[in-house]
């Protein structure tokens, strides 16, 4: 008893640490270090804590948004005319770009059809607002204002229009936690856009996204775009992840290189996100409609290229080439298959021995016989000794 009284402080500390160590051991049995959702009991504890904090976060978010929107509305009104003009110019540029991209998409679709490739397209999404963070730079987790009541489930991909943000880790009734791609426990399957090298993107202690499972390769250069590969079954294929910022040997994991990726999304400033709640093997109806329109336009363009132009510099003469009569194309006449005239050379004005038809065939010549034309001397053979 005297021992307990004397060392009560230390014993209390040991008891507290032991209890927490046991709690940690129970959690670590589940794969908490790989960004997977927690066990049921831990999830409940987190849910209660989140429920307690969420009203404050929502209030702070609402106040912040109110002030921010009030100010930005005022600024927007001042510059709305100029912005409208800029946006119209941008729209024009983007329509031109869209036409070019549609051509590439068509080509890609044809190739995919050839390979019987099954693509996963974004089927349905839920828009959400970021209302909080983990508050620690060692844990990159966002809290969003949508939960399982809105159809959110763990491991759903979270994106913005710029690229991927992360994936859903825990889901509560009205909120969800998003594990960002630069968190230490995060991982994503990626592919380098131009070299088509597949890799795994992970977060680092410094809060950066890094590819660490590739050996040195001279083809990989800074600035190369990184896309999702779709191999992780979380992110649909082809979403922007970021661009390669730097490539350096990884001293901890030789012979691999540490390829730091600058995220396409500003993860510190993300406000609104889209949660991909469903994927499908076909394009969404809107995108399918756009693609069909682009396909029709493409076909029309191709036909226009193949048909003779109405503004040719030298239209064919009515008599045709070398007197060939063109097919009748009078309106109302039955369609006659077009005969493409074969061009013939014009008659020679001053024929010589090189003129076509002036030389007798080889079968009519006798070896050793004199030159039938006789006027031309054979050319001296430079190899013959004098």
């Amino acid at each position: 008893m005297d021992f307990v009284t004397r060392f009560k402080n230390a014993l209390f500390l040991i008891a507290v640490l032991l209890a927490q160590a046991i709690a940690l051991a129970m959690q670590v049995r589940t794969p908490v270090d790989s960004g997977q959702p927690d066990g049921r009991s831990v999830r409940l504890i987190r849910m209660w804590a989140t429920s307690a904090v969420t009203p404050f976060e929502l209030s702070a978010h609402a106040i912040g948004s109110g002030i921010s929107h009030g100010w930005s509305d005022y600024i927007d009104l001042r510059h709305v005319r100029q912005q409208n003009k800029d946006l119209q110019q941008q729209l024009t540029r983007m329509r031109i770009e869209q036409a070019a991209i549609a051509e590439d998409a068509l080509e890609g679709r044809r190739l995919q059809t050839l390979l019987a490739f099954k693509e996963r397209y974004v089927g349905s999404t839920v828009a959400a607002q970021v209302i909080g963070s983990s508050g620690s730079d060692q844990s990159h987790v966002l809290t969003i204002d949508k939960g399982w009541r809105d159809g959110l489930r763990p491991d759903m991909a979270v994106i913005t229009q710029d690229g991927i943000v992360g994936k859903i880790r825990d889901v509560d009734p009205t909120t969800a936690h998003v594990l960002e791609i630069d968190d230490q426990t995060s991982g994503a399957g990626v592919i380098l856009a131009s070299t088509r090298i597949r890799a795994i993107l992970r977060g680092t202690a410094a809060g950066r996204a890094q590819i660490g499972n590739l050996t040195a390769d001279s083809r990989i250069k800074p600035g190369e775009q990184v896309l999702t590969s779709g191999g992780d079954q979380v992110y649909p294929r082809g979403l922007p992840v970021g661009t390669i910022e730097s490539i350096a040997p990884d001293p901890d994991h030789q012979p691999y290189t540490a390829i730091v990726v600058h995220p396409a999304v500003n993860l510190d400033r993300v406000e609104e996100v889209l949660v991909i709640t469903g994927t499908q093997s076909n394009l969404p109806p809107d995108a399918q409609q756009d693609l069909t329109a682009a396909e029709a336009q493409h076909a029309a363009d191709l036909s226009a290229e193949r048909l003779p132009g109405i503004h040719d510099d030298e239209p064919p003469s009515p008599a045709g080439v070398n007197g060939a009569t063109p097919a009748s194309t009078a309106p109302g006449s039955p369609t006659v298959p077009t005969v493409i005239p074969v061009p013939h050379p014009q008659p020679t004005v001053h024929p010589d021995r090189y003129t076509t038809g002036s030389t007798p065939p080889a079968s009519a010549l006798t070896p050793g016989a004199p030159n039938p034309q006789g006027s031309e001397q054979p050319a001296p053979n430079p190899d013959k000794p004098k």
Binding site: K8, N9, A10, F12, L13, V16, L17, Q20, A21, A23, L24, Q27, V28, V32, D33, G35, V42, I45, R46, A49, T50, V53, F56, E57, A60, H61, G64, V130, G132, S133, S134, G135, S136, D137, Q138, S139, H140, V141, R169, H177, L179, D183, Q184, T185, R202, T204, A205, A206, D268, R269
Partner: protein
């Protein structure tokens, strides 16, 4: 004639706080820790819960109270992050115990001492977190950037000094 008593330094200088202060100040610190990085991402380097743990531990000068405060604040912090629950709890329990033990031996009312304490305990927490993550949990991918941790300690120190002065006003009068 001056009367002298044989009370220890701890008994003389133990401070107490009202229940609202003891509950709402740590909660406010955790809430601010969650909200501030949303406004300014660089503020994620700050560890307000650690500062509050240190303040209550050195003020109360009771290792049991310090351990309890540290464990509670740390566990609440863990719940809101992606880390396993108990990582910050264990680290801050130890910090609370050590700070309270130290607080009963040295003068912690001095600003320079408080700054030094905050800097030292901030670094100690980084070491503890590293040990817990790498050794106890066996997460090999966990790395600590020590220059970053030095910067964190410096920032915590700068923030802690005015917060300590502010919270001194909440102490219950003797």
């Amino acid at each position: 004639m001056v009367t002298r008593s044989y009370m220890s330094r701890r008994e003389v200088e133990q401070q107490s706080f009202g229940l609202p202060v003891a509950i709402f100040v740590p909660l406010a610190a955790i809430l601010l820790q969650v909200l501030l990085p949303r406004l300014l991402p660089a503020l994620a380097i700050l560890d307000l819960p650690l500062v509050i743990t240190l303040f209550f531990a050195v003020s109360r000068r009771s290792p049991i109270a310090g351990t309890t405060t540290g464990a509670t604040i740390g566990l609440l912090q863990d719940v809101l992050t992606s880390q396993p629950i108990g990582v910050n709890g264990m680290a801050k329990s130890l910090i609370g115990y050590a700070a309270a033990s130290l607080g009963s031996r040295i003068d912690v009312e001095n600003t320079a001492t408080r700054a030094l304490l905050t800097f030292g305990f901030s670094l100690l927490q980084s070491i503890l977190l590293y040990l817990i993550e790498r050794r106890l949990l066996g997460i090999r991918s966990f790395h600590v950037l020590w220059l970053h941790e030095l910067l964190r300690a410096a920032v915590n120190t700068v923030v802690a000094v005015p917060i300590f002065l502010l919270l001194d006003r909440t102490k219950r009068p003797e």
